[in-house]
Amino acid sequence: MLSITRSFLDPQILSRLAAVPLRPRHAMQGNVSGRHPSPHRGSSVEFAEYRKYVPGDDLRRLDWRAYGRTDRYYVKEFEADTNLRCCVVLDTSGSMGFASKGMMTKLDYGRRIAATLGYLAVQQGDAVGLSLAADQIVQNIPPRRSAPHLRVIFDTLERAVAKGDTQLPSILDEIAETVRQRALVVIISDFFVDPSLLKRSLEHLRFRKHDIAAFHLLDQQEIDFAFGRPVRFVDMEGNTALFVEPNEIADRYQRALQNYLNQMQKIVLETSVDYHRVLTSESYEHPLMRFLVGRTGSRGVR
């Protein structure tokens, strides 16, 4: 059993979530044998197909009964099970440091989701990696399945700070190229980027046959935009400042936000992203539970 004494981990939530296995939506390519479907044939007990014998095949795998019936040599193949490589991409740009009064920052929220997912994955024998993304990949930890590796990930999460611009699309492109195919890529971000650029990056990941999941973190105040008097807004990712009368601009802000959310909805549908829009005001257990439960129906298409 792993030690869970981090501030961003709640043992009770972990115990409840552990009851639901983390499953990919597609066949994964792992390093070792595991509990998830693999695109390759293996040695599991689950029959896959018959194949004609070719010289070099292991004679032990010849199906002598089939030979007796057909007078031909067939090799009996079985499905292969492999482990899961879960690559968590956590946005640590400046905007993730935003929190309305009394609430946790989006980065803290994302830290909890990432840590919980990593714990669950390692616990079921899957490998977990972590990429902190801001204006570049701040830190990249390749997926591994060992318990000490999880401690490294926790330490990395603990040290993460919200800083810098968001260059999430280019970072996702980089991850798509560097991470081996058929991995579970979990993106935790507020996605305050150009939707068209984001779409291209998601398509890139999809092209690499990754199973993409996205946790879209939003603060309640970003939705409501409830301010009583004139406010000077300072961009958390730069020095841009804007003086506005909230009552004047609220309608147009809501319109712009709604347009953006609609675009995001369209993009994730087109790119088959397992998309979860999350308010930081709700407990992180709920979106995670939705995430896990939503995957229980799929056994992984090979």
Binding site: R229, M236, I249, Q254, V278
Partner: protein
């Protein structure tokens, strides 16, 4: 718009409170680190026209609400320029009311006359404005009357018209004198009138003096003219033009002439009055009545020489035939001009007294005075010397011709009394003038003004050319006025050989080319009376020559001499007549408070008999007071006429409908409504727009699926 509480207007800057709050609020911003900056920038780029307009509207509504509240507390008044001119409760109001007969119009659909309407509107205005210092200027009293309070003025203000034509310039002169003697900080002169030209006399020379006088006053003075000239209804007026007693027949007869004038309605466009219509005319003499139906059309009607036998009068009585009466038409919109009064008498003897030391020289004058111009008149002359003057009964003398040394001592006293009582005196130079002074003049000396070679008086053209001629004369004077058909008297044909110059204060009536007066009238002198001094009623005329052929051709060309003598006789006969015909207002001195009203307005104050038409018995003389002749003129003083009359003075003409009850009204209710409307609109604009629930925007697809 003006205000009853104008000091409240100092609070108007408070209307800027919403703007100040807005600006302060702009300064009180908070700085917030913000993640979703891209949406803010995008929203900032979107069109903000309506939102910005909404914000400005909200600010404007808040400002308007406060402004309306302040104006409401300042108690605003209507009537624009009128209210601006009306001043406040500290302003002194000088009221001049046109009480001429035309102000007695009762308009269709109302029971109020123009005068009553004016007074009601003024009362309401003064009450609204809280004006307590009111001065009334009236023609009858002749002096401004001050009132201690508005209520006192309202109780005392006369609500009836009289028969005299108003003299607005004269009333304004009184106002000017009052303002000079009683300066006030702010004064408003209210003139309520129907703007008849006959009342305003806009071309009168007094207006220039009034303008200069009022402009020279240091106080702030304004004129508010309440114009009641609108909605003039159709009207018929009757007036007696002549009443004459004819006693040359067996039965004395009254010859009565009168006319009916028709004034169409001001806004009437129909020609209904062109068709002849009939109207009953009632004629009364004493207690007897008669009537006749008179046909009239748009031009009115005229009745000449309507004869009524005077069977009730006894010609043998000592006082002769004398009586009074009236003619009346049915009452219409203006009852003030539906009756006209007249008096009549047997024409009195026109007696001329000639005082002469050489009667032969003035025999032509005696002849002219003896020949009556009408068959009904009787003329008589008496020749006396100055020494016999004391024994002559002057009461029956109409004209005194004085051809002797100027009177002095007791003679002068007799002549003076004669003139003061209305007698006419003609002074003709004696043959030997001395330096006696009488009536402000004295004879100087005779001098020749014709050619010496023609002194023989040859009746040739050359002789005619040797006369001095009269080069100029006053044909607007009563004595030398043109004839009834407008032709001038032939004074230019008179020839003068010798004249006696005179010195003293007199007004020339006719002069030679060198300016030497040949005929002059002595200015009327003040006569002391118990009530004060008044001008003498008679007149004194000086003639600088005699009708002798040696001196002039007055006798030969006798037309001028005859006309002048008869005109003086006619004037002088009035003093011996027992009846008087006068015009109300102008001839107010014909009656006084001791006169007895025989017919007329029974509500007329006795002290103002002279302003009311009617029949009066004044000092055993019958006086018929008629409404002013100028009342027949219905022309109105237009805006340019008023502008010319008032010039640079602060004045305003306020068109007032007769149905109007008040000239100024408090309109605070409107400001309350404006305030409420502004607050309601502000509230509507401030209503938050209906937003979609926050959860709806971020509902995750999975959650939505579960919920469905």
């Amino acid at each position: 718009m003006s205000f009853l509480q104008p000091w409240m207007l100092v609070a108007i800057p408070l209307a800027a409170i919403p703007i100040i709050i807005h600006l302060v609020n702009q300064r009180r911003f908070q700085t917030v680190p913000w993640a979703a900056m891209r949406f803010l920038l995008e929203a900032n780029r979107m069109s903000s026209g309506y939102t910005r307009l909404r914000q400005w509207l909200i600010l404007a509504m808040r400002t308007l609400a406060i402004l309306a509240l302040i104006l409401f507390t300042a108690r605003p008044l209507t009537s624009g320029l009128l209210a601006l001119l009306s001043g406040d409760s500290n302003t002194r109001a000088i009221v001049i009311l046109d009480r001429s007969p035309s102000m007695a119009d009762t308009l269709p659909g109302t029971i109020r006359t123009r005068l009553e309407s004016t007074i009601d509107q003024l009362s309401s205005t003064f009450e609204t404005l809280g004006i307590q210092r009111i001065v009334q200027i009236d023609e009858a009293s002749g002096k401004p009357e001050e009132f201690a309070s508005f209520n006192q003025w309202r109780r005392s203000v006369p609500r009836t018209t009289w028969s005299a034509t108003s003299d607005i310039p004269g009333l304004l002169e009184q106002a000017l004198v009052y303002e000079k003697n009683n300066p006030s900080g702010n004064s408003v002169i209210w003139i309520g009138s129907d703007l008849r030209e006959s009342d305003w006399r806009s071309r009168d020379g007094r207006w220039a003096a009034l303008r200069d006088g009022f402009q020279a006053l240091p106080q702030n003075l304004r004129f508010s003219i309440l114009d009641l000239s609108g909605n003039r209804p159709e009207d018929l007026a009757i007036r007696v033009t002549n009443s004459q007693c004819l006693d040359n027949t067996d039965t004395p007869t009254l010859s009565l002439s009168f006319r009916v004038d028709h004034t169409p309605a001001k806004d009437s466009s129909s020609n209904a009055s062109d068709t002849p219509q009939s109207i009953p005319v009632e004629i009364a003499m004493g207690s007897s009545r008669t009537s006749l139906d008179l046909t009239w059309n748009s031009g009115g009607a005229q009745v000449n020489d309507y004869r009524i036998p005077l069977t009730a009068f006894d010609n043998s009585k000592a006082e002769g035939i004398r009586g009074w009466g009236w003619v009346r038409i049915p009452s219409d919109s203006n009852p003030g001009n539906d009756i006209s009064y007249f008096v009549f008498e047997q024409p009195p003897l026109r007696r001329t007294l000639i005082v002469s030391d050489n009667p032969d020289l003035i025999s032509a004058i005696e002849l002219c005075a003896s020949i009556a111009p009408q068959q009904t008149l009787k003329c008589e002359t008496e020749l006396v010397t100055q020494a016999q003057l004391g024994s002559v009964a002057m009461e029956n003398v109409a004209l005194l011709v004085w051809h002797d040394r100027l009177p002095s001592g007791k003679s002068l006293e007799v002549v003076q009394r004669f003139v003061d009582s209305g007698g006419q005196v003609l002074f003709v130079p004696p043959e030997a003038p001395d330096d006696t002074l009488a009536f402000g003049f004295r004879w100087l000396e005779w001098r020749n003004v014709g050619s010496p070679s023609n002194e023989a008086g040859a009746n040739t053209d050359a002789a005619s050319a040797s006369f001095a001629r009269i080069s100029q004369w006053q044909n607007d004077s009563e004595l030398l006025a043109n004839t009834l058909n407008g032709a001038p008297l032939p004074l230019g044909q008179l020839g003068l050989r010798r004249i006696c110059s005179f010195s003293g204060s007199s007004s020339p009536l006719a002069s030679l080319s060198d300016g030497q007066p040949i005929l002059a009238v002595v200015e009327n002198q003040a006569v002391p009376t118990p009530e004060g001094s008044v001008l003498s009623a008679g007149s004194v005329v000086i003639c600088g020559t005699t009708p002798s052929d040696r001196d002039s051709t007055l006798a030969g060309d006798g037309v001028v001499l005859y006309v002048a003598i008869q005109r003086m006789l006619a004037n002088g006969a009035k003093r011996v007549s027992a009846v008087r015909q006068g015009s109300a207002g102008v001839d107010r001195n014909l009656v006084d408070a001791t006169s007895q009203l025989k017919a007329g307005d029974e509500n007329a104050p006795s002290t103002q008999y002279g302003m009311y038409a009617g029949i009066y018995d004044s000092n055993n003389a019958l006086v018929a007071m008629e409404r002013g002749v100028a009342e027949e003129d219905v022309s109105i003083v237009d805006e340019p006429g008023l502008a010319e009359a008032f010039g640079e003075l602060k004045w305003a003409r306020i068109g007032v409908g007769v149905r109007t009850t008040s000239l100024v009204q408090e309109i605070w209710r409107w400001f309350v409504l404006v305030m409420i409307a502004a607050l309601l609109l502000e509230a509507v604009l401030c209503l938050p727009r209906l937003r979609r629930p926050a959860g709806g925007a971020i509902r995750t697809p999975q959650l939505a699926k579960q919920r469905s």
